[in-house]
Symmetry: C2
Subunit: 408 residues, 2 copies
């Protein structure tokens, strides 16, 4: 199915991917669901690699999410195994057994404890994932792992994605240059609530796992968790960051890590927006900026209500600056709002101010803006100083095509 979906018009090419010292990775064809493409990815990390992770808040998480939550308590990672095509969600005891068998198989190859292996699965929910398909394929895959395997890994984790997604940052810690590199997948079932579908990042920096965890939690709240394709939160959402320490930067007690934290957040934002650019059926990217709310949290919920409104998203697909639907979305979400202090802008043009349309409103620049690929909606609630942002995409026939027949 995935191969029949046309390339997103918002697609971006893979950046030049380098290596991260201490990380070797690759992909193989395990034949789990797809044919003629890779669907199994493994990464191996040198001893001393710390790890941080954030996961879906779904009350029905997949077995690999449970596994990773438990493994994360150790703060150490030596291997990562990811498969596409089957999410290993709602598979009961069989699902748990698959995670144990997969971790054991990878641990034997990486010569580490099973609890140092991280697992992720993405694809169909509710079908048993046969462990042997993974464990049979792992030894040959392990033999091929190399530092240049990043692009292969980015491709191997795709499901309905139409292009592979990766991002790179370089920064320094205490004057020592460090690199951060990450890959992500995701296209539908995207309304991250803690993390998005799947995102894996590695850095050669030395960062203790607790410091890394704090950085990651804050950064995902401001990046992945501000995006939505279809308001449907995945059962398998996961962002993992691995820090190998090979860069030889100073230990962080007292070290200024601000530049690193900024670079990490910037990389996560790039990956999050790549996921939106590959939103199922997307033809336009939408940024929604809300200000004047009673607080930032309220502004965020208003922004998300607009970002998730099918009527706003279909209007944008139709290149119609139907700002009345923005008003509707503000009104429905239950956050403090006052019709008579509300202002709405599209593409930088304020169409309505304080409860009514601007006198002599000229639609010309707005019409031109709506024909572009990047749509900006601004809302000023006129109540306070709270502000926030959300990123979304339009809702088109492509979304219906993909999701009316994905499983079959």
């Amino acid at each position: 199915m995935a191969s029949k979906i046309p390339l997103s018009p918002l697609a971006r090419p893979l950046p030049d991917l380098g290596t991260i010292a201490g990380v070797r990775l690759g992909a193989a064809e395990a034949g789990i669901r797809y044919r003629g493409r890779t669907d199994l990815v493994m990464a191996e990390f040198d001893a001393g690699t710390s790890v941080a992770g954030v996961f879906t808040r779904s009350k029905c998480p997949g077995a690999p999410v449970d596994w990773c939550r438990a493994a994360l308590s150790g703060g150490v990672a030596r291997a990562l195994v990811v498969n596409a095509g089957n999410a290993n969600v709602f598979t009961g005891r069989a699902g748990v057994e698959t995670t144990s068998a997969t971790a054991a198989g990878a641990a034997r190859l990486a010569q580490c404890a099973a609890s140092e292996v991280f697992l992720a699965s993405t694809g169909v929910i509710g079908e048993v994932l046969p462990a042997h398909k993974i464990t049979d394929a792992l030894p040959a895959l392990h033999a091929t792992l190399h530092e240049d395997g990043w692009a292969d890994a980015a491709r191997g984790i795709m499901t309905t994605d139409t292009f592979p997604k990766a991002a790179v940052r370089t920064t320094d810690i205490g004057g020592v240059p460090v690199r951060i590199q990450g890959i992500a997948k995701g296209s539908g079932m995207i309304a991250p609530d803690m993390a998005t579908m799947l995102c894996f990042v590695a850095t050669d920096a030395a960062v203790p796992s607790d410091v890394l965890q704090n950085m990651l939690a804050g950064a995902t709240d401001r990046t992945f968790n501000r995006t939505t394709v279809d308001s449907d939160t995945s059962t398998s959402d996961m962002v993992l960051v691995f820090a190998t320490g090979k860069a030889g930067n100073p230990a962080p007690a007292g070290t200024n890590m601000d530049a690193f934290a900024e670079a990490l957040e910037s990389l996560l934002k790039e990956l999050a927006l790549l996921v939106i650019r590959d939103g199922e059926g997307a033809t336009k990217m939408i940024e929604i900026r809300v200000r004047g709310a009673v607080d930032d949290g309220s502004a965020g919920r208003v922004a998300m209500a607009i970002a998730n409104s099918p009527l706003v998203k279909t209007a944008i697909a139709g290149e119609d600056a139907n700002w009345g639907r923005v008003v509707m979305a503000v009104g429905k979400c239950g956050e403090p709002a006052n019709r008579d202090t509300l202002s709405v802008a599209v593409g930088g043009t304020w169409i309505a101010r304080e409860g009514t349309v601007v006198e002599a409103y000229d639609e010309t620049p707005v019409v031109a803006h709506m024909k572009g690929q990047d749509i900006l909606i601004e809302v000023d609630l006129g109540l306070g100083t709270g502000q926030n942002v959300a990123w979304s995409c339009d809702l088109t026939h492509g979304y219906i095509d993909i999701n009316g027949s994905y499983r079959s």
Copy 2:
């Protein structure tokens, strides 16, 4: 635009509409937006008519909603004026002036106070509704009002509706036969939060406005407020019930009104489901029953999360019993749920029980069920005794067609 939308395959013919003693109504062409069809409806009620109403909880309600909320405090109604094509929402002072002028015009014709006139508008948001188009058309319309005008009224309030909607009930109060008759419109922007788009009901029963208000509030909570087409709550939602008292039933102090309350709720449910049957682009009607929740409220929120999930709705459009997406929707909504006690049925066949797929699950009856027009999804959370229901429709190309170009 409305005339180009194909008839919903779930359409129902208008029932045989009788009269309600004390109610005269009709429709006219005011040329507000549409051409070649009626778009203005007026009803006149005899003196002594009590009224109850419920309205959208949107924080950005239309001017007519504000007007009706104020008018409702009197408990008395003599006239109703409804226009289609322009919602008179987010129109500032001009919108308020339009409601005043419209009510004054209708009051002159009905020889009543302006505060006894109820107003509703539906259509595009954010464009000024010129009062003169309505007040110019009202005198000729008023001259044509008659007791048999119900079908004309049902047609005159349509926007993207593909068929007119009405329902009739007969019951008795204290042995005296009474009739209840109602009309509704609505197709998109349907996620009622207190009431749906527009629904007008009249009865010849004598029911004091406070008693009627209590009945209406409870009944809408169990009917209209359990439905969704697209999760987008309208700024103009309104249900009004008018009781003319012409049936001559006994005054209600001590009178058993249970049969009347049941008939009213049954009529409201029929109208609410007609709105879903005309959901924009709908080809299938979906009923979602949730049980085993910690309480009824929680069950209702789980049912609505399933009812609003684009992935569930597109799967049903594709006739795919993708129950994994039901699990996803249960997991995302934040209500108490436990993957390992969760069971899911489609069309009466339990596919998954207590966290995993049923052994030797045979998809045959489920596949047959999915080809039908009425889809039943059942979820047992396995936690408590809370239960609730939601009604929705599938998400198809038709929804995108209608909403990508409705305004233009």
